[in-house]
Every structure is written in structure tokens, then in C-alpha cells.
Subunit: 145 residues, 2 copies
Amino acid sequence: MTGSADFDVQQFLPYLLNQAAEASSLEFQKVYKDKYGMLRNEWRVLFHLGIYGEMTASEIGSRAQMHKTKISRAVQRLAERRYLTRSRAVQDRRIEHLKLTTAGEKVYRDLKAIAADYDAALTEGMSAKDAATLRDLLARLALRS
Amino acid sequence: MTGSADFDVQQFLPYLLNQAAEASSLEFQKVYKDKYGMLRNEWRVLFHLGIYGEMTASEIGSRAQMHKTKISRAVQRLAERRYLTRSRAVQDRRIEHLKLTTAGEKVYRDLKAIAADYDAALTEGMSAKDAATLRDLLARLALRS
DNA sequence: ATGTAATAGTTGTTTTTGTAACTAACAAGC
DNA sequence: GCTTGTTAGTTACAAAAACAACTATTACAT
């Protein structure tokens, strides 16, 4: 018999994580997509530059665990929109230093505020302790790769 | 000044969820992809049929929160591989009843066992209580959409 | 019974990703 | 100096996902 309910997909962690990630991304996605025409990898790069200041592509890559092609394309589009500037390093001309423009910083600050509000809304129903546990466990799962 | 560290992407729930989801999917993906040449949407459909028995495409859609085009294509490929059979309902000829074949069930059982083991490995470092909290919170976040 | 809307599922087209191969610059060993 | 290897980043091509438009069938209202 097939219908043996001895396994529940809905409780399978990778499945559950994907569902939660997808559902909780939608609302924020609407903002960066509809308001700024940005893609997921683009806001990620933007945020990294907004938070850490000037960085190179590969620094962003190792921090965000993003592949270099994703970053390359995200940087390209952000540069086209004049949200960041790229400048070759003189000591090592393979490297490009990336930095948000004033316009880029403005967008970052706007998105950051929206993200903070949204994060608060997401954790609203949870106790502070549970929310902390959640973040901790997720961070540990994210490191596994 | 840009580098104000008053916001941490790494703690932003949608970001964290995506990282954790991606990292924890990789290992299982290798199995259904490399061993069975399946795509994410395909194992999801397979699992739903494995667990709940005969279903229609839209029943799977509402349970798994998958769009009908994803299901349509997943079903197509699963049918090509003879993992499931499709039969038109006589009372309503728009509907197709989907059912795993013996081969499909075999694959399901194999993947199910691997998934169960993998889930155990993922939660290994966590207390039972924390793991339960995690699943509960994730399920609630997944419902938000 | 017949026009209108709703549902089930498919197909076509466009975006977006993923993978691999590539160029350019530097670093080391001999 | 010159071969070999490594790192930074880009580009080209193939795979996959997203979105919209479509067909077929049923339901429902007049």
C-alpha cells in the first residue's frame, strides 16, 4: 500500500525551510522588485556594500556565499543603474573595489528600513526567545554547506 | 557614512531562511538529481503521491503550494519515466487522477528513507525541543503566504 | 438552450539561473 | 625570462523557473 503516512514531507526540514523561505521572501521581494526593479542577488550585493562599505566582488562572494557569476551580473546591473561605482585597484589590477553611490546608499537605507520592519512583522507572533532560537538554528544550518 | 552596522543581513529572516534552505537542500538534491535525474518539483510531486496515494494535479498544487504549471511539467516527466500513471476521471473529464506505479513507489521509498536519515542528520546537533520549535515556527512562516 | 464564468490542465515565450569555459593579471619555481 | 599555477572577474551556452495566454470541460444563470 502506498499511502503509508509514516513520513510527512511537510515536516521534512529542507522542504519546510524552502516553503518558509519562499513565503517570507515574497513580500519583501515585491518591494525591491516593484519599487526598484531589482533582483534577489542585487539587493544582496547592495546590502553588503551598504553594511560593510567598500568591498570587492569576491569579498562579497565569500560573505554572502554567492557564486562569482551571480555577483558579476548583479554588480553589472547595479552599476548600470548608478547604484555603485567600480574602480580597479592599482596594486592588483584584477581586483575592483565596489562602492555605493549616493543614489545607491539612498536605496539601501530605504530597503533597510523596510526590511527591519518586515523582519519585526515576521517575528511578531513569536516569543523573543523563540525568535532567537530560530535565528540561531537557521544560521547553523546555513553554515553546513 | 555607509558602513553603519545597525542592520545585519545575516540576521534578516528571509535572508537567513534562504541560506539555510539552500544549504540544506544541496545534499538531498544530489540524491534525487544524480541518482534519479529528478528535479525539485518532481520529487515533491512524487512524495505527495507516495504519502497521500492517488491525487489530482490541483490537489497536489494546493497542498504543496505549487503553481499548476510546475506540477504539469513535473507530472509529464514523471509519467515519461513511468513513475506514475494518469487517468481521466469519468465524471469530470478535466480531471486526471495521478498514481504512482510500482517503479514510482520503489523510488519513493528509497528517497523517503534517505530523506528521513538526512533530516535526522540535520537536527542532530539540536535538542529535541529546539528541533520541534524550529519546525513549528517554520510551518507558521510558511503559512503566511 | 445558451451565453458567461469558472476550473483543470497545457503550451509558448521570456527571465533567471547554473555550469563551464574563457581572459587578464599576478605569483612562484626553476 | 619562461613555464606552471592561482586568483579575479566575465562571457557564452544550456537548464530551469516564471508568467501569460491558451484549450477543453463543467457549472451556473437567465
